[in-house]
C-alpha cells in the first residue's frame, strides 16, 4: 500500500512516501541514500544490512519499511557523534577488525545491539550474538577482540 511513513533516522526525522511493503534496506539505500547499509544476501542470512531499530539489531533486507513507522532507526552514520567515533568503531579501527570492510557496518551495529543489552559480555556471548553475521575475509578473531575491548572502554555504559 502506498503511504507516507515517518520515523527517526539517526536522531533526525525522516519521511518516505512509498509502497509500505518495500524493504527497509532498499528504501534506505535507494530513497534516502544511506549506502553504508549493505546488500549481501537479501534473505537475512549474512547481516551486512543490519541496522538498529529501537535498540534492536534488525536485518533491513527482510524488514518491511512499514515496520519502522514511528520508530528510531540507527545506521552507522548515527553511531559516531560530533565526528567522535563510538568506542566500538574505535576498537574496530585499533584492532583492524576488518579487511574488505563490506560486512563492517553490520558487524559494528550488531555489536552495538549486544552491548546495549549485555554491557559486559563473555567471549561466548559475543560469539553467540555475532554468529549470523558473516565475514568472508576472516576478520572474526579481531572482531571478537574489538568487541571485548569496546565493552571495557564503555565501562558497562552503552549509549
Amino acid at each position: 500500500m502506498q503511504r507516507t511513513i515517518s520515523f527517526t533516522l539517526n536522531g533526525k526525522p525522516a519521511r518516505v512516501t512509498t509502497d509500505d511493503q518495500r524493504t527497509l534496506l532498499w528504501v534506505l539505500r535507494g530513497d534516502i541514500g544511506v549506502t553504508s547499509v549493505k546488500f549481501g544476501c537479501g534473505a537475512a542470512l549474512c547481516g551486512a544490512c543490519t541496522v538498529i531499530v529501537d535498540q534492536e539489531a534488525v536485518r533491513s533486507c527482510s524488514t518491511p519499511v512499514k515496520d519502522v513507522a514511528g520508530k528510531r532507526v540507527l545506521t552507522i552514520e548515527g553511531l559516531s557523534q560530533e565526528r567522535q567515533l563510538h568506542p566500538i568503531q574505535d576498537a574496530f579501527l585499533k584492532h583492524h577488525a576488518f579487511q574488505c570492510g563490506f560486512c563492517t557496518p553490520g558487524m559494528i551495529l550488531n555489536a552495538y545491539a549486544l552491548l546495549l543489552k549485555t554491557p559486559r559480555p563473555a567471549r561466548a556471548d559475543i560469539i553467540r550474538h555475532m554468529d549470523d553475521n558473516l565475514c568472508r575475509c576472516g576478520s572474526h578473531v579481531r572482531i571478537v577482540e574489538a568487541i571485548q575491548e569496546a565493552a571495557g572502554a564503555m565501562k558497562g555504559g552503552a549509549r
Binding site: R22, G40, Q89, P105, H140
Partner: protein, 694 residues
C-alpha cells in the same frame, strides 16, 4: 579535490609544478607499456600521490604499497595518497591476484621512490649549497646537519618546477635502515571502513541511475524458448530492454526492478542431463586433457622396486565458491561518447578492453574506476557485471547499475575447480620414501611438485584451474580461487605424507624433517611445532593434532592444528591453529597477520563445509543457507609466527597460509579418531562414513 575524479591529462596539467618519475616495470613484462608502470607525483603541497593499477580488495595493499613508497622517499606515511585501479590515471596492470602486489610490483615502486628522492636531494644540494652526501632527509624535509637552520622541504623544492625523469637504475635502501617498512601503522582504509563511508561500486550514486535486473537461465546450457514481458512492463517506472542475449528490467529503485523481473514469464529449454556433484570426479578423470609431466627425477620403476610397501591413494575436492560478501557490482555512465564504469573488479584494465569491445568504443573512451572492493579471492577477476552495466547504459542512455543478487553470484561464479589427485608412493624398510608418482587432474600444476627428499619422483598435471585451458570440461565457469591449484595439491601431498609417516610408525613432524633438506621449509616447520608445543608421537595419538607444510610462490608455510571430533555426529571443531610463515621481508607485520588469520579462518570453509551442489547445469546453492561459510562459532585460537628473514625480498602473503588448511585438518582428524579423509570438504556425513570404514 578528489584525485579519483581527475583524468591523467588533468593530473599532468594540474601539476604545473611537481616532480614526475616515470619508471619501467622490472623486469619488463609482456603487455605492459614499455615506458612506465607506475606514476608518482609530489605536489607543491608536499603530498605524494601514487597511482597504481592494483586494487584494494581488503588485503591491505593500499597501506603496504604506501609504506614502501614512504620508506624509500623519506616522507611521512600520512602524506601519501594512493589512487588505485583507475584506468584513466593509473598505468596498465594485469590485475590484482597471485599475491603479486608486493612481490612483483613492490620493487618497482621502491625503485621509483628511491630515484625521486635522489632527484630531490640534487635540487636540495643546489639550494642549500651543500654536497648531497652531507644532507639528511626526514619526513620530506632536507637538512644540512653541519649548518644549523639550513633546511628545505620537498614541497618547496618542487614549487614552480616541472621535472621528468626516466629511470634506468633504481638503487634502494638497505633493509636494515627501514623505519616505515616493517611497522604496522593504521590501515589507510581504516577510518572510512569503520564509519561506513567506504564506497563500493554499488554505492556510486549517480543521479537518474536505473537499477538493472537481468533475466538469467535456470541452468548453464539452458536456452530461452519463449518470453512474455507484458506484466513486467506494466510496473510503473519499469523499462524492459531486449538486446540479443541480454534481457533486462530497469527501474529507478532496485527492489522494484526485482519485482518486475519476477513478472517476466520465460520458458527455457533445459540442457541434456550432464554431471552432478557426485558423478563429477569420474567425469574429470575420464575427460581431462592428456597429462603433462611437469617435474621428474630418478626412475619410478627403480623407486618402486626399492620400496618394501607401496601406498596408492586418491584425493578429491569439490567445486568451491568465492562467496565474497559484496556481490559483483558496477555502475556505468556514458556521456559524450565516453563510458565510465565503477566496478568491483580485480582486473580493471582487462575489463576496460572487454567493455570497449562490447560497446564498440575505443579503449581510451572507456574508463574503469575501482572503488573499494568487497572481497575478491580471484572471483572478481571475471567481471561480466561491468560489461552488462555498460551495455545497458548505452541501450537506455541512462546511468545503469548492476548488482548481482546472491543467486546470480553463485550461478556466475568462476569456481575453484573440482579435482582429483592420485599418488603412488613407496616406503623402504628403513622408513624412507623411495618413490612418488603424483598425478593431478583439473586443479593445475602450481606447486604440484613435491619438495621432500625422494630419489625417484614424477609429477604429472592434466588440466588447469583456468576455464580457458579446458573448454567444455566443467559444467560451468571455473577460475582462480585464493592460491589456485595449491589448496588441492597441498591437501593431497600433505595428507599422503602423513599416511606414510603413519605406515612408518614415525611422528609426522619428525618424518617430514627426516625427508627435508630445504632449509626454509625446515625452519617454518620447526617454528610452528615449537610455538604449538608439539610432542612427538606416532599417529593416531588420539590427541587430534596435525601438521602440514607448503611452499607457495616463494613463501614458506607450516601449520599445526588441534581438532576435536564428535564421533556420534561427525562434527569437527578446530580448536587451535598455529601458522608459521616465511615471506622474506615483512612490509607490515600486522597486515601479514591479518592475511594469515583470514586465510586460516577462510580455509576452514573449504576444509569442512564448502562445496557447490549442482545437477545438469543448475547450481543448487543460491545463498548462505545451503552454502555454509565459516562463522564466529567455528573460530579456533589462532597463533601466527612471522619468520624474520630480511635477507630475502618480500614475497606474497595473502594466499600462502590458506593452502595448508585442508591437509592440516585432515591430518588432525586422523590423529583424533584414526579415520583418514580423502575428500574435501570433510563434512560430518563424510567423517561418519570414514569412521564406519575404519
Amino acid at each position: 579535490m578528489n584525485p579519483e575524479n581527475l583524468t591523467r591529462r588533468e593530473v599532468l596539467s594540474l601539476a604545473g609544478s611537481g616532480l614526475f618519475v616515470i619508471f619501467p616495470a622490472q623486469p619488463p613484462r609482456p603487455g605492459y607499456p614499455a615506458d612506465f608502470n607506475a606514476y608518482l607525483r609530489i605536489g607543491a603541497d608536499g603530498r605524494v600521490t601514487c597511482l597504481v593499477g592494483k586494487v584494494e580488495l581488503g588485503q591491505g595493499s593500499k597501506t603496504a604499497l604506501a609504506q614502501l613508497l614512504a620508506e624509500e622517499l623519506d616522507v611521512a606515511l600520512d602524506s601519501v595518497d594512493m589512487v588505485m585501479g583507475d584506468t584513466d590515471v593509473c598505468p596498465w596492470d594485469g590485475g590484482t591476484y597471485g599475491s603479486l602486489s608486493i612481490r612483483q610490483f613492490g620493487p618497482v615502486l621502491r625503485g621509483a621512490a628511491a630515484e625521486a628522492r635522489a632527484v630531490l636531494l640534487e635540487l636540495a644540494a643546489e639550494q642549500l649549497g651543500a654536497p648531497v652526501g652531507r644532507l639528511q632527509v626526514k619526513a620530506g624535509a632536507v637538512t644540512d646537519p653541519s649548518a644549523a637552520g639550513k633546511r628545505v622541504t620537498y614541497a618547496q623544492l618542487v614549487q614552480g618546477k616541472r621535472i621528468e625523469r626516466h629511470l634506468e637504475k633504481t638503487p634502494v635502501k638497505a633493509v636494515a635502515t627501514y623505519t616505515v617498512v616493517g611497522q604496522s601503522p593504521r590501515r589507510k582504509d581504516a577510518l572510512e571502513k569503520v564509519t561506513g563511508r567506504a564506497r563500493y561500486a554499488g554505492d556510486m550514486a549517480v543521479p537518474g541511475t536505473l537499477h538493472a535486473r537481468i533475466l538469467r537461465p535456470p541452468a548453464h546450457g539452458a536456452t530461452l524458448k519463449d518470453i512474455d514481458t507484458t506484466a513486467a512492463e506494466k510496473v510503473p517506472g519499469a523499462r524492459v530492454v531486449k538486446d540479443g542475449d541480454l534481457i533486462a528490467v530497469l527501474h529507478e529503485r532496485r527492489d522494484l526492478a526485482d519485482q518486475a523481473l519476477g513478472l517476466i514469464k520465460a520458458q527455457f529449454v533445459r540442457p541434456q542431463p550432464t554431471v552432478d556433484d557426485k558423478t563429477i570426479f569420474g567425469h574429470l578423470r575420464k575427460a581431462a586433457p592428456e597429462g603433462r609431466v611437469v617435474d621428474q627425477s630418478g626412475d619410478i620403476v627403480q623407486g618402486a622396486q626399492a620400496a618394501e610397501a607401496l601406498v596408492e591413494r586418491t584425493y578429491r575436492n569439490s567445486y568451491v565458491a568465492h562467496a565474497t560478501l559484496e556481490t559483483h557490482s558496477a555502475t556505468a555512465v556514458i556521456e559524450g561518447g565516453k563510458a565510465t564504469v565503477w566496478a568491483g573488479t580485480q582486473t580493471p584494465f582487462p575489463v576496460q578492453q572487454q567493455v570497449a569491445q562490447a560497446l564498440g568504443f575505443t579503449p581510451r573512451n572507456v574508463r574503469i574506476v575501482t572503488p573499494y572492493v568487497g572481497g575478491g579471492f580471484g572471483g572478481k577477476s571475471a567481471s561480466r557485471q561491468a560489461i552488462e552495466a555498460a551495455r545497458l547504459a548505452k541501450l537506455t542512455g541512462k546511468p545503469v547499475q548492476v548488482v548481482f543478487d546472491r543467486a546470480e553470484e553463485f550461478f556466475f561464479d568462476t569456481f575453484r575447480p573440482a579435482a582429483v589427485v592420485t599418488i603412488l608412493s613407496g616406503l623402504t624398510g628403513a622408513g624412507k620414501i623411495s618413490v612418488w608418482d603424483y598425478k593431478v587432474y583439473c586443479a593445475g600444476d602450481r606447486e604440484a611438485k613435491q619438495f621432500y627428499d625422494i630419489p625417484h619422483q614424477r609429477t604429472t598435471s592434466a588440466g588447469g584451474w583456468s576455464g580457458a585451458s579446458t573448454p567444455g570440461l566443467h559444467p560451468f565457469a571455473i577460475g582462480p580461487w585464493r592460491a589456485p591449484s595449491v589448496n588441492t595439491n597441498t591437501f593431497a601431498r600433505e595428507s599422503h605424507i602423513d599416511i606414510l609417516a603413519n605406515k612408518a610408525g614415525v611422528d609426522p613432524v619428525e618424518f617430514r624433517l627426516g625427508h627435508l633438506s630445504d632449509k626454509r621449509v625446515r625452519r617454518v616447520l620447526e617454528a610452528a611445532a615449537k610455538q604449538f608445543g608439539w610432542k612427538p608421537a606416532p599417529t593416531p595419538s588420539r590427541r587430534g593434532v596435525g601438521v602440514a607444510c607448503a611452499i607457495y610462490m616463494g613463501t614458506y608455510v607450516a601449520t599445526v592444528a588441534e581438532v576435536a571430533v564428535d564421533k556420534s555426529t561427525g562434527r569437527v571443531q578446530v580448536k587451535r591453529v598455529v601458522c608459521a610463515q616465511d615471506q622474506g621481508v615483512t612490509v607490515n607485520p600486522d597486515g601479514s597477520r591479518q592475511q594469515i588469520e583470514g586465510s586460516i579462518t577462510m580455509g576452514l570453509g573449504y576444509a569442512l563445509t564448502e562445496e557447490v551442489h549442482f545437477k545438469d547445469g543448475e547450481v543448487l546453492d543460491r545463498n548462505f543457507d545451503t552454502y555454509q561459510i565459516p562463522r564466529f562459532s567455528w573460530l579456533p585460537k589462532i597463533e601466527t609466527v612471522l619468520i624474520d628473514n630480511p635477507e630475502t625480498p618480500a614475497s606474497g602473503c595473502g594466499e600462502p597460509p590458506i593452502v595448508t588448511m585442508g591437509a592440516v585438518v585432515a591430518n588432525a582428524i586422523f590423529d583424533a579418531v584414526g579415520a583418514r579423509m580423502f575428500q574435501l570438504p570433510m563434512t560430518p556425513a563424510r567423517i561418519l562414513e570414514a569412521l564406519k570404514r575404519g
